[in-house]
Amino acid sequence: MDLLDNYKKAWGNQPEEIQKLSAVEIYKMAHSKSSSIVKWIFIVGILELAFWLIINLFVPDSIYQVYEDLNLEKHLKVFMVFHYLVIVVFLYFFYVGHKKISIASSTKNLITRILNIRKTVKYYVFYNLAVVFLTSLALNIVLVSDADKLMKIMNPNNIPVDINQLIIITIISQLIAILIFMVLLWLFYKLIYGILLKKLNRNYKELARLEDVN
């Protein structure tokens, strides 16, 4: 007889739970608040979507002034339409991703879907980072290529400075700002998603390990 067969027999004979719950207790429990990983991923996802939306909505007017000064208003408007369309598409995928989650599907399927939602949010953040990076890059190129405008925008009070110095200061200060921003974001990701996804990633790997080989 196999070693496990004995244990299996003991398992089969184990008495029922002593502290059985009554219908009332079950009812109360069923209506209490969930604290599942999916719920947290949803909350964090919403916060991220909102964070970037707020950044978009509350860009100070002075920044738009820069575009005006550079005669890029039309480009900006076209881009903003495109930008909000992309955000709507992301929101749609985020919503659909959640709708698709079914706790009664197979474990692998469930984990894949949860990780997919997370991916949608990740791409959303990447997209926004790319937008920040590319627009500031484009702006810098236009600025630096026109010394007069640069002087006008960066030095409105006409303090006498060397134009090359000004360019260097402009670029360095922007680099530092972007770097600080990236480090904060990276820390945020490591922390929040590290905690939230550790278990899911580990279990997914465990499930997928043999599937990929065959």
């Binding site: 003991a10 739970e17 069923a30 990983i37 009664a104 550790k198 465990e206 499930l207 599937e211």
Partner: protein
């Protein structure tokens, strides 16, 4: 309508709750964690009950939802086993009409299962519950060939822990 559904859910759940208790014992090692997981599973079962079509048995559906909750949704990771927790389990399953040897075996079995990873826990649990490979592979979402391979490995691991 809601009331009917609720009544049906409560009666289905009440008579099958032992399944959930067993899963909680497999995935947690203290009474607090047990209650916590039990609550989360209950919430998930109720939240999804309206989608339960009855094309499978309630208990089969319950196994799935409960295991998925333990594996994928439950936030707190299983703590490392403490001596007190083992006696916790032993105490809970102590019963006068229960054989002494079997009681010891059961305690040892739970202690050993606690050392397995989440997926191996599910495999061993379904094996102990005498589920066919078809159901095991469908529950986990892997092919039945893989289910067999993984099951054999999980059993080997368990044997090594039980009988080093």
């Amino acid at each position: 309508m809601e009331k009917d559904l609720e009544d049906k859910f409560l009666s289905d759940f009440e008579s099958n709750q032992n399944i959930v208790h067993k899963i909680c014992r497999v995935y947690t090692a203290s009474q607090d964690a047990h209650n916590d997981l039990f609550q989360e599973i209950t919430i998930q079962l109720w939240k999804n009950y309206s989608k339960f079509r009855g094309d499978s048995k309630f208990s089969t559906w319950m196994y799935r939802v409960a295991l998925n909750t333990a594996i994928s949704l439950y936030r707190k990771s299983t703590r490392t086993l403490k001596t007190q927790d083992i006696s916790d389990v032993a105490y809970k399953i102590k019963s006068s009409d229960y054989d002494d040897t079997e009681e010891r075996q059961l305690s040892a079995l739970y202690a050993a299962i606690h050392q397995l990873n989440d997926i191996d826990k599910a495999l061993i649990f379904l094996y102990l519950e005498d589920k066919p490979y078809k159901e095991i592979s469908e529950t986990l979402g892997i092919t039945s060939v893989n289910a067999r391979v993984k099951m054999n490995r999980a059993k080997e691991k368990l044997k090594n822990i039980l009988n080093p």
